[in-house]
């Protein structure tokens, strides 16, 4: 699988694949977008025409081989076409996170030497115009949605229509141009640059080649058997490797249809209307869906509620086995009940979730809670985990259908080799390996060993069955002062599995005990408080209620009981905790754009709180800064309570 098969047309770059599809399945739908309440579709041959016009337009404006094209916005067909257009000219598309403030974008614009950008709308145009004085290279901004932009005097901006119009004229004047450019493309050209979210230091541009992403896509498609009949909904940020892989690379390799939602708020409705067959979401999306279902169920009439809970019990007992193809282990009565449950509960529920047609759903990027994972599988959704990172083209491990083990991320994919370094770090060789970090030979050398292994930075091991289990980030796995193993992310994830806990940050490296910050989930805890008639004014107030502390304490102590069962980790039970009065937020730099906690930054920012956790105080006053989306700041002042948590005695070894 490491060698992408060239195919009859020699389609070894993405633009060639596009033309290949236009030829062999020109009439099939390639992409859809919901606009003004109606799903519009484009066939493969139409997409090829649109891309050709956009590519020629870029060329007419002076875009040349090797240049970078910035892409900013929600998932829109024209932005995907721009990506393909840049690739057709031998350029490199660089998708940026659309919700990043202007100043964060500036770094990438500058680092990637972006001179041309295709953006979604006025909001993004405004952002780019704001940083224009500091980004002298940026010369053209092409926008998709003209609303509000008609009267901008800036000479740098033009509409996508105008771009294509220029392109069609250019194409007519230079008939062989597009084909020539296409033929110049090589499989080992860089096909895309994806910036890592920058958990540590400034973002780095990960350069992938046509060959690497195509290999990864082919491997994935063979593994799960995707083909032109599949449908995906692309709603995750285009700058994220996952979306690039699903909505661009895999769609182009398999020839399946990509659906763009109407807006980011309508994703749920659009999901239901499209009914994708293949779906990816990070755990938090699955969690939000489940929370919504549970809240709605709590409000339902009593008979419905009872019916739901009864059949969820049935699903819990038998669903997973039936999903794994081990129906023979389920008694006949169980199978009959499950069938009835499918009719009455699971089927309708899958439909409400927009998952009726799903053949394979994936989650990854963060640990998923056991209850959550089981829930989806038990109602008949083939949810699986995968493991990989931007640098490996998300092509490392996947759980195979029929052999899903909850606490692992599955077996290495075809063509992937895995080894565990002495410090416990997972290292991989994969066909989806990055070429390099852009302009960062130092970082490239730090991440790839001389003998060609990519250092994932994750700690874990292969279990006897050959499935990979991840514990934590290798550099985060630390020790308490007495030498006890301390895996902060492992503890945080266990806490986050409770619906009431939105984020958790564990501290303990080099200390005598483990303490945590908790962020409550406003929806879930708010609803809980409402049910109890507990009045609160807002997030800060709710977070400091003694009742809420008692609720969280229960969660913490359950985690402790869980940790106690593991001989390696029983020493790192949580002794003290506090509930932060402020939601951790990416705008304040506390989370990365992919919503991972930046532990070091948080420890520094809330050092007063960390200190009081460890020196035994019972409360501490704090001023926290909040940054609004428009850049203004304000302060939250609160007196934060600190509580002790009971620990569980370590489990005795069975005699």
């Amino acid at each position: 699988m490491s060698q992408p098969d060239a195919g009859p047309t020699g389609a070894d770059t993405f633009p060639r694949l596009l033309l290949h599809h236009a030829e062999v399945r020109g009439g099939r739908t390639a992409i859809r977008e919901k606009d003004l309440g109606i799903w519009l579709s484009w066939t493969w041959s139409q997409v090829a025409d649109e891309v050709r016009a956009a590519a020629c337009g870029l060329a007419a404006l002076g875009f040349r081989r090797g240049m970078t094209l910035g892409i900013v916005g929600d998932n829109r067909p024209r932005l995907y076409w721009s990506m393909m257009a840049a690739q057709a000219l031998g350029g490199i598309p660089v998708p940026l996170y659309q919700d990043a403030p202007a100043q964060e974008m500036r770094f990438v614009l500058d680092n990637a030497e972006i001179a041309f950008a295709v953006v979604e709308d006025q909001e993004q145009v405004d952002k780019l115009l704001e940083i224009l004085p500091d980004a002298p290279r940026l010369s053209k901004i092409i926008f998709d949605d003209p609303r509000g932009l008609r009267n901008y005097p800036n000479p740098e901006i033009l509409s996508f229509e105008k771009l294509q119009e220029l392109g069609r004229r250019f194409d007519a004047e230079n008939p062989g141009f597009f084909q020539r450019e296409l033929e110049l493309g090589r499989p080992d050209d860089i096909s895309v640059m994806l910036y890592t979210s920058g958990t540590t230091g400034s973002p780095k541009g990960v350069c992938h080649t046509h060959h690497s992403l195509m290999s990864a896509a082919k491997g994935d498609i063979a593994f799960d058997g995707f083909d032109e009949h599949d449908e995906v909904l692309s709603y995750l940020p285009m700058a994220w490797v996952g979306d690039h892989l699903f909505s661009h690379a895999q769609a182009l390799v398999a020839g399946f249809c990509v659906n763009c939602p109407e807006s980011s708020e309508t994703v749920m409705t659009d999901l239901r209307e499209i009914g994708p067959t293949y779906y990816f979401a990070p755990p938090r999306v699955f969690e939000n869906l489940l929370t919504q279902v549970m809240i709605r169920m709590d409000d339902a009439a009593a008979p419905k509620r009872r019916l739901f809970h009864y059949f969820m019990g049935v699903a819990k007992r038998h669903g997973a086995k039936i999903m794994d193809g081990r129906a023979s282990e389920v008694p006949l009565s169980g199978r009959l009940l499950y069938a009835l449950g499918t009719l009455l509960v699971y089927g309708p529920l899958r439909n409400v979730l927009g998952m009726s047609r799903i053949r394979v759903a994936y989650t990854g990027g963060a640990a998923i809670g056991p209850d959550l994972f089981e829930f989806y599988r038990s109602i008949g959704i083939n949810l699986k985990q995968l493991y990989g990172q931007t640098e490996t083209g998300v092509y490392v491990c996947k759980q195979p259908s029929g052999n899903v083990k909850l606490d692992t991320v599955g077996t290495p994919l075809p063509g992937v080799e895995i080894r565990i370094a002495d410090n416990g770090e997972i290292q991989v060789k994969t066909p989806g390996m990055l070429k390099e970090y852009y302009k960062r030979p130092d970082a490239t050398a730090e991440s790839i060993t001389p003998d060609g292994w990519f250092m994932t930075g994750d700690a874990g091991f292969l279990d006897p069955e050959g499935q990979l289990k991840i514990i934590d980030r290798a550099k985060d796995v630390g020790k308490l002062a007495d030498g006890t193993l301390f895996a902060p992310q492992y503890i945080e994830n266990k806490l986050k599995f409770f619906p009431h806990v939105k984020e958790a940050v564990a501290f303990g490296q080099g200390r005598d005990q483990v303490c945590v910050f908790i962020n409550i989930d406003l929806v879930s805890v708010g609803n809980w408080a409402e049910k109890r008639g507990l009045a609160y004014t807002g997030y800060v107030d709710l977070s400091q209620k003694p009742e809420v502390y008692a609720l969280i304490q229960e969660c913490v102590e359950k985690v402790n009981a869980d940790l106690a069962a593991d001989p390696h980790l029983s020493g790192s039970q949580i002794r003290r905790f506090l509930v932060l009065p402020k939601e951790l937020d990416a705008d304040d730099g506390e989370l990365t754009r992919t919503r991972k906690v930046r532990r070091g930054f948080i420890a520094e920012r809330y050092s007063v709180l960390v200190d009081s956790l460890f020196d035994g105080r019972t409360h501490q006053e704090i001023d926290a800064q909040v940054k609004f989306e428009d850049g203004r700041t304000s302060t939250i002042r609160a007196d934060v309570q600190i509580r002790d948590a009971a620990v569980t005695a370590p489990a005795r070894k069975a005699a």
Binding site: L36, G148, N151, T269, F628, E629
Partner: protein, 270 residues
């Protein structure tokens, strides 16, 4: 969301001749003089603000313009025609639409249906034919629906298209109300405190919508607003009322420098 695009830098927007003029309007309820001898004009494509302390007569002024109240004295000229008295139906059919200080939507109906009601005056076929949904009625319905969808897209309320209005948060309801007014394709849009009770972010959104409406559709807008920042940012000219009398009229800069206005807002030592 970044700051609303300041629209002074907007060379494409041309302010035309007088669309509406109000001459010497006086309105009294029994002994209470709500408005005394008010005159001002509104030019085509402009955003005109009416400001003033509570009870200054701002809403009464709007109510006179679209015919809810009949002033005892004075005349209103709209689009070259002069009226001693307007009535709401005539005002609507001439292209004057409005929103209310307290939201006046059909709470049990969906967003889509609420905005559709704004198309009422544009519907040509009768109720019985509409019920059949064939031929011309079908085409008409589709045409109206397309128009409404443009408004939904414009106001970014796609996600609540089919949600009953009563279930929506206040800020969104305000937006729906604006949508319904827009559905009538008005030439003159009267907004009665479109940003009252909103938080900063909702206000910013609403400002952007008001500017965009003015910009995209060329709609002339008269708005009442309390938030001085908002008024100064988005309006071309401002009328200031106090105790039913006009005490200032001019560009935001002029009004801000006007002594009488400062006194009315900040109070004076007596």
């Amino acid at each position: 969301m970044s700051e609303p695009a300041s629209h002074e830098h907007n060379p494409g927007r041309r302010i035309g001749g007088t669309l509406l003029s109000v001459d010497n309007i006086s309105l009294a309820f029994g002994g209470v003089k709500a408005l005394t001898d008010i005159s001002f004009d509104v030019r085509e494509h402009e955003i005109r603000a009416i400001i003033g302390p509570n009870g200054a007569g701002k809403s009464s002024m709007l109510n006179c313009i679209n015919g809810v109240y009949t002033p005892q004295q004075g005349r209103i000229r709209f689009d070259g025609q002069e009226f001693q008295r307007m009535d709401p139906h005539k005002a609507a059919s001439m292209g004057i639409a409005r929103t209310f200080q307290n939201i006046a939507l059909f709470k049990g109906m969906s967003v889509l249906d609420n905005i559709m009601t704004g198309r009422m005056l544009k519907m040509r076929t009768n109720l019985f034919l509409q019920a059949l949904y064939v031929g011309p009625n079908r085409r008409e319905e589709l045409e109206h629906r397309r128009h409404v969808e443009h408004i939904i897209d414009f106001l970014q309320i796609e996600s609540v298209r089919k949600t009953p209005v009563g279930r929506l948060p206040y800020g969104v309801q305000k937006r729906v109300e604006l949508g319904r007014a827009l559905a009538a394709e008005p030439r003159l849009l009267l907004l009665d405190e479109p940003m009252a009770g909103m938080n900063i972010e909702e206000k910013q959104d609403m400002c952007r919508f008001v500017l965009d409406v003015n910009d995209e559709f060329g709609t002339t807008i008269v708005l009442i607003e309390h938030d001085m920042g908002v008024v100064m940012d988005i309006s071309d000219r401002v009328v200031v009322l106090d105790y039913g009398k006009k005490i200032g009229d001019g560009t935001p800069g002029e009004v801000r420098a006007n002594k009488a206005v400062i006194d009315a807002y900040l109070g004076v030592a007596h």
